[in-house]
Amino acid sequence: MRLRQAGDGAMLAEFSDRLDPRAVADVRALDVALNAAAPDGLIETMPSLRSLLVLHDPLRLSARRLRALLESLAENLADTTIIGRQWLIPVCYEEEFALDLAEVAASKGMSMEEVVRRHIGATYTAIAVGSFPGLPYLGGLDPALVLPRRVPPRILVPAGTVAIALEMSNIYPQATPGGWNILGRSPVPLFNPGWEAPSLLSPGDIVRHRAMPRAEYDALLAGFGDGTLLPHEVCRA
């Protein structure tokens, strides 16, 4: 573990500089241990792909004390394997939504059908949720589809956009800036502050995708929109 001070109110506990399942487990274990220790002055923690960001009040918990606490917790991290829930999230890969599908296919020397087949064929694990409310970083992308983020990123991608970059796939819950390569769109809402757990997906959850035609996309979008459908019911695998 490497501790990087991020100002006087935050500490970044880093377990790897790349995507690494061991680091994901360590981040989770340290997160659990620190929140169990609950030192006075701890504000909140944010686990991400390979590190844990610890936000603290410097008036109540100094960086020096926090550093010592994290180092002692890291010596004895428990194995915190979690069994996530299973989801089947439908995606419409039709041309109107699949803004980068042709480009991805060309750059990989595949047909568009094969890109979609490989995207559907993988079983993903939610490594982290973040950047925007409810946005899942899904690990487990088919290695044949690994490619960099787009430069420059798009200023706005539509809500529901399903996209890939690096070794991951994701779904943008809101219309936001985005630099990933867009393969399709899902009507499934991923975030609602009124739900008991506002993010549909949690780290550790298992996600698969299935392709659906535009008509079904429209029907689901309407159902989720007026509340007659709930993603917790429609998408449980």
Binding site: R4, Q5, A6, G7, D8, G9, A10, L12, E14, D17, R18, L19, I43, E44, T45, M46, P47, S48, L49, R50, S51, L52, L53, L55, P58, L59, S62, A63, R64, A128, V129, G130, S131, F132, P133, G134, L135, Y137, R149, V151, L166, P173, Q174, T176, F191, P193, P198, S199
Partner: protein, 314 residues
């Protein structure tokens, strides 16, 4: 029992001290850009420092008071506030009656705050009244104010009481460099980049809002990789994309990001970021971690002393 908005100004949102505990699912803290001014406004009204106020950026609101008696104050950047055309002094409380028109107008600085006694009758979302417009969370319908909105007041009739004055606001220190701790990724930049950051001026671009402040100046060169596998962001961190032009992340920022962060503004100076305006020049000064904590204590003591100086107007 409300404030009826005639002109919403440029970007007016309800903000408190932010939303805590949901960054792990991608929800940024939001909250006042200049927390010091919000806290002082509430202190002037004798109420909890973290109560939500109306944050106005660059141009403030014009509104009509639709409750029997409203006690309020305006803090933050100096403006040209008037009540029925009569100029209003900042850093003191005022009382308005039903039908009176409050106009904030142009704001000479970043953010100004309208704090009202008793606060607003709005429902917290995920534990906070702060508005996060991108996801439509909190505040008034999750968005910035619009003409015709009616901001509901918690108190229909503020109790009669003497007005209060803050004779000694915490000094603004506008010309002082912003103090930073280098890191979390300082070693991903060349030594020349660190020297440049700490010696040159950076201009605030027009791309400066509640998400981030884009700066323009001598490019900061990465030593190697220009991107990282995403990790957590915190408010005040300075990320540097491939073009070398730094971005200071503000309270509505993404919770995680894939650019290296060369430095982070210390907590005691974060409120000053709420008062920067496009075109102004920023300079940065590195301090040691222990020094940052000393400064944080000094600021809290200065705030306590300033609040202790609040007095009734005879």
């Amino acid at each position: 029992m409300s404030l009826r908005i005639i002109d919403p100004g440029l970007f007016s949102t309800i903000q408190d001290l932010g939303r805590v505990g949901y960054q792990r699912i991608g929800v940024p803290p939001s909250g006042a850009l200049d927390t010091l001014s919000l806290r002082m406004g509430n202190a002037l009204l004798g109420q909890a420092q973290g109560m939500a106020g109306l944050e106005m950026c660059r141009v403030g609101v014009r509104l009509v008071v639709e409750c029997a008696r409203l006690r309020f104050c305006i803090t933050g950047a100096d403006g040209t506030a008037t009540l029925d055309g009569q100029p209003l002094a900042p850093w003191r409380s005022h009382t308005a009656r039903a039908g009176q028109e409050l106009h904030i107008g142009r704001i000479r600085g970043g953010a100004a705050y309208l704090c009202v006694q008793g606060g607003f009758a709005l429902v917290p979302v995920l534990g906070s009244l702060s508005t996060y417009t991108r996801a439509g969370l909190g505040g008034y319908e999750g968005r910035r104010l619009d003409a015709g909105d009616s901001l509901p007041m918690a108190l229909p009739d503020a109790p009669a009481a003497p007005e209060r004055l803050l004779p000694h606001p915490v000094p603004a220190e506008r010309s002082r460099p912003l103090r930073v701790l280098l890191g979390p990724h300082a070693e991903m930049f060349t030594e020349a980049a660190i020297r440049t950051l700490l010696s040159e001026a950076y201009q605030v671009s027009h791309n400066a809002d509640r998400l981030g402040i884009r700066l323009q100046g001598p490019p900061l060169e990465h030593a190697g990789a220009k991107e990282i596998v995403s990790d957590g962001n915190n408010t005040g961190c300075m990320q540097v994309p491939g073009d070398g032009q730094p971005i200071l992340l503000m309270p509505d920022r993404q919770t995680a990001g894939g650019y290296p962060k060369i430095a982070t503004v210390i907590t005691a100076d974060l409120h000053r970021l709420g008062q920067v305006v496009p075109g102004s020049q920023l300079r940065f000064e590195a301090v040691a971690p222990e020094q940052a904590e000393v400064v944080a204590w000094q600021l809290e003591r200065a705030i306590a002393a300033s609040i202790a100086s609040i007095q009734d107007i005879a």
